[in-house]
Amino acid sequence: MTAALLPSWLQTHVANFSLPYAEPTWLSEYRTEQKAIFLQQGLPTRRDERWRYADLSCLEEMSLRGHFSGRSNPENGSPRPLRSLAMTDANTCIFEDGCFVSAHFSTVDEKKEIICCSMRDAIIHHESLVKKHWQANVDTKAYPFASLNTALFADGLFLYVADNTTLSQPLHLLFLTSDQQAWMAHPQHLVVLGKNSKLSVIADYTSNDATEYWMNSLTKISLAEQAQLDFCKIQNESSQAIHIATCLVEQKKASTANFLNFSFGGRFCRDDLTIMLQEDNAVCKTSGLYCLRQDQQYIDHHVDILHHAAHGESEMLYKGILQKKSRAVFNGKLHVAAAAKKTQAYQANHHLLLSPTAEAFSKPELEIYADEVKCKHGATTGQLDAEALFYLCSRGVPQAEAERLLLQGFANDVLQRVNCVDTRQRIQEQLL
């Protein structure tokens, strides 16, 4: 067997890693196991179909430190959210460089039926809950960065919403960065929704300047019977950042999940979203909009939806606007198991190339083993519609304005899925 491809700085870091605090045995054993797997597997190579277009040489060039700012005392200089991102009505959780800093709830009521704390605290105070929802059987071959994350994570968010609980305001997760250079963070988040509970999350990844860092997050989400989740991620990492995110979702009977992903930042971004519809009548909708504006900017979405039970519905709608010499990859995999009768699934991926050097790769994968299913998919890649442009201009709309209208028009069906008006407007403005 050939030696694993692994930059030496990362190999050294992983091999020598030890947590600065104690943790339960089941967790440390799991961590050790994942560490061994990662060291043995190394980074994925382009021979691996899931990583065919991803150029991970950016990781070789870097030499990053892990750090545990871990802010034991959040009262000491917690970072203030950027004014433009503060939401008046929302409950807010702030993270800095991947570490949980503080949580603010608009009313005490909101706090009663939920647990919202750092992962580090959760492992101490809510160990049984954490263990119960751990999702230990992650496919390490498919998600190598999830293994790395598990080997190295020191913090993250633990969010538990009790049965029959509805959060009236969205929960705003603010991932801020410090002005430190050359760090990496491996936060692990666990979000658990009880039966018939309801939650809306807005996750904002933001950075002020062109700092170089690597964010490698792992988010595990579990939805009990009839739970409803809206999860809107807005990725505005620094232009020098590497953003790798793995999100694993388990849905029980008649639960509903809406995932929205808006990506603008980072130089290398890989986003894996895997949803398992484990019981009947589960519904998930995933959609994304990505705008790449820099040379060499790269985004790679892998969405896997696995229907394991009957009467499930799923949707993928991803759209990309590419400028300059940027590249985008979309891979949408739909797996319908034999038991998943009467499944309805829809998949679409559309790219708008605004420059002759931009590239888009789109690959639908449909594996259907059940009868009586309705599955549709479609993909397009094109330029701004010259006919539409002429039509708008012929009414006196200046060319630049007409192009703006068409871009907005292209993005519109994804944007309209954002329920929170302020957030939708903020994203819309970013599009221009």
Binding site: L392, C393, G396, V397, P398, F410
Partner: protein, 255 residues
């Protein structure tokens, strides 16, 4: 208002060969006049309308077009519109995701800006457009839909007329606006155009049929074939064409 001299236009075909569409076309429209151009399929009528609006698919190889004493061909489409030229398209484009009302307000406000007028806000615009909607027989729901998306043929034409009424252009070009319309819609188009008839405004109607001209009386009728105007006359020419077809004009021109 409009003066076209010896206009030659080519379009490149599938084999990238230049194909002549207009071959020395002359036309003058004075302020306040309504002209109609009729002619067989492939005579170049729609090309003329699109060339005037500034569509990029054509190459002008000779000739000139002056619009209000200005060189029209040197202007980009939006500048032509800002100077008051309006083409009601034969096949209006569907534009998914772009809100019909927002588009029309953006268009009106850019024309208003050019005239030094303040922009209309959403409320004022809605007031203005509601009255015009009634005139063209569309309900308010159409404002909130994407531009022409999923509209029937007739609804698209009504939407074109709505834009014309809101933008109040100086030169209106109707490119087969009457084709595919039922009699009620045809009368609506005529009413709208007649309501805009004015000494400072001109209209050029491109049509196959004499029917629309029963409702909008033209000052002049031109017959076009093989890329030029072969015969011009008053409104009685339309009736003659309806009775005798185009053949006699083409043979008359050859003789």
């Amino acid at each position: 208002m409009l003066e076209i001299n010896n206009l030659h236009v080519t379009v490149s075909d599938e084999k990238q060969q230049a194909k002549a569409i207009l071959r020395g076309l002359n036309l003058q429209i004075q302020s306040g006049e309504v002209h109609a151009i009729m002619g067989p399929n492939g005579s170049g009528k729609s090309t003329l309308a699109n060339i005037l609006a500034g569509r990029a698919d054509y190459t002008v190889t000779a000739g000139s077009v002056a619009f209000q004493q200005e060189d029209l061909l040197a202007l980009v489409p939006e500048d032509r519109a800002m100077r008051g030229l309006f083409l009601a398209f034969q096949y209006p484009t569907e534009i998914p995701g772009v809100n019909n009302m927002y588009f029309l307000r953006t268009a009106l406000n850019s024309l208003r800006k050019k005239k030094g007028l303040s922009p209309l806000d959403a409320a004022d615009f809605l007031m203005l457009v509601k009255a015009k909607l009634k005139e063209v027989g569309l309900d308010e729901g159409f404002l909130h839909r994407a531009v022409n998306e999923g509209f029937s043929g007739g609804e698209k034409k009504r939407n074109e007329v709505l834009q014309m009424l809101v933008l109040e252009p100086q030169l209106i070009i109707l490119d087969e606006t009457d084709s595919g319309l039922d009699i009620d819609a045809l009368q609506m188009v005529a009413r709208a155009v007649n309501s805009l008839r004015h000494s400072g405004r001109s209209v050029l109607i491109v049509t196959h049929y004499q029917r629309l001209l029963n409702y909008i009386e033209p000052d002049k009728i031109h017959v076009m074939a093989q890329g030029r105007i072969l015969k011009s006359g008053d409104k009685s020419l339309a009736l003659e064409l309806e009775a005798k077809g185009y053949g006699w004009i083409e043979s008359e021109a050859k003789a």
